[in-house]
Symmetry: C2
Subunit: 187 residues, 2 copies
């Protein structure tokens, strides 16, 4: 029931295939919701049979046919109803932080390496979010956009993603510094 709302939000402005959505969930929606492609396909089926989405098959020449989903009136109403509810508190699952919490009992070089990869992932995501942001800003300045733009929602969620990844990078660098100072010079 929760993924459902994330899908409605992702589909509301643009008809998409499951495959498109899987990509979108990897690059921008990941910011506030995660789901595997399998989850998406299953949920899309259910949403169609519940009348929230309409599907049409598009034949393609040099690739498999695809099914494009769009939000129906009923889906639109469901999304509106969802926005009237109190949202559940954010849940986070971060295995890297579990490893860091257990640092005193951990394999420190491994954890260090994981922090390094996480910094790299965050840099990639940050760049992706910034590209998306540039796309929705178009030629407008940020200030002009917040006065006149019409994609305020995505703008705000991207801002949250950007600050989140920035903090991830800053934190990771702090962690590396402290680790190296305390657990011997690292590789």
């Amino acid at each position: 029931m929760a993924l459902r709302n994330a899908l409605l939000a992702a589909l509301i402005d643009r008809e998409s295939s499951g495959y498109d959505l899987a990509k979108k969930f990897r690059v921008s929606v990941a910011n506030f919701w995660t789901a595997t492609p399998q989850q998406l396909y299953r949920e899309l089926e259910k949403m169609e049979s519940d009348g929230l989405l309409a599907a049409r098959v598009v034949k393609q020449e040099r690739r498999p046919d695809k099914r494009l989903f769009s939000v129906t009136e009923k889906g639109r109403a469901a999304l509106h109803a969802f926005t009237r509810q109190e949202p559940k508190p954010t849940t986070v699952r971060d295995e890297l932080l579990v490893q860091v919490e257990a640092l005193a009992h951990a394999d420190v070089p491994s954890v260090r390496a994981s922090i390094v990869s996480q910094i790299a992932r965050s840099r990639e995501r940050l760049a992706a979010y910034q590209r998306s942001l540039a796309e929705i800003l178009g030629a407008r300045s940020e200030e002009e956009f917040v006065r006149t733009g019409n994609r305020i929602g995505p703008y705000l969620t991207l801002q949250r993603g950007i600050s989140f990844e920035r903090e991830n990078i800053t934190w990771g660098e702090l962690a590396l510094t402290i680790l190296d100072r305390r657990f011997g010079a690292a590789s």
Copy 2:
């Protein structure tokens, strides 16, 4: 298998009851892992029967008896093994951001109210994390602690929690400002 590691990390330094852990998950572990009390009790049982934890019953005078769990050698080894693995990428689930993403199709006053409550929740958590931080710092300055303290892991995860909640507050305030400017003066 993932909650399991979070529990090992939470228990490694201090024997605790399920109830203690439920509190800890509400106030500090929530920073990087969330779980309901039911989940905890269930997982603790399984971990005990898998030999990762040892339990002992403590009789109490004016309250129900409790079972205190502690990490066994096997549990310690499992935790160490976990820290050698590449952690799975962070997953986030934030219904409020789903609502904001759908802003153009949302009930704006409701979403605004939800942002206000989220700011309040973040302030509370921020305060809780700062209290925990003060506790592990003790009388030492932060600088001294990172040179000589022994709870570096929890220190780092708390820092991450603190910056996360700070960013939540900053973002929420930005969002309110923009909403009010664009969707009419609010309450």
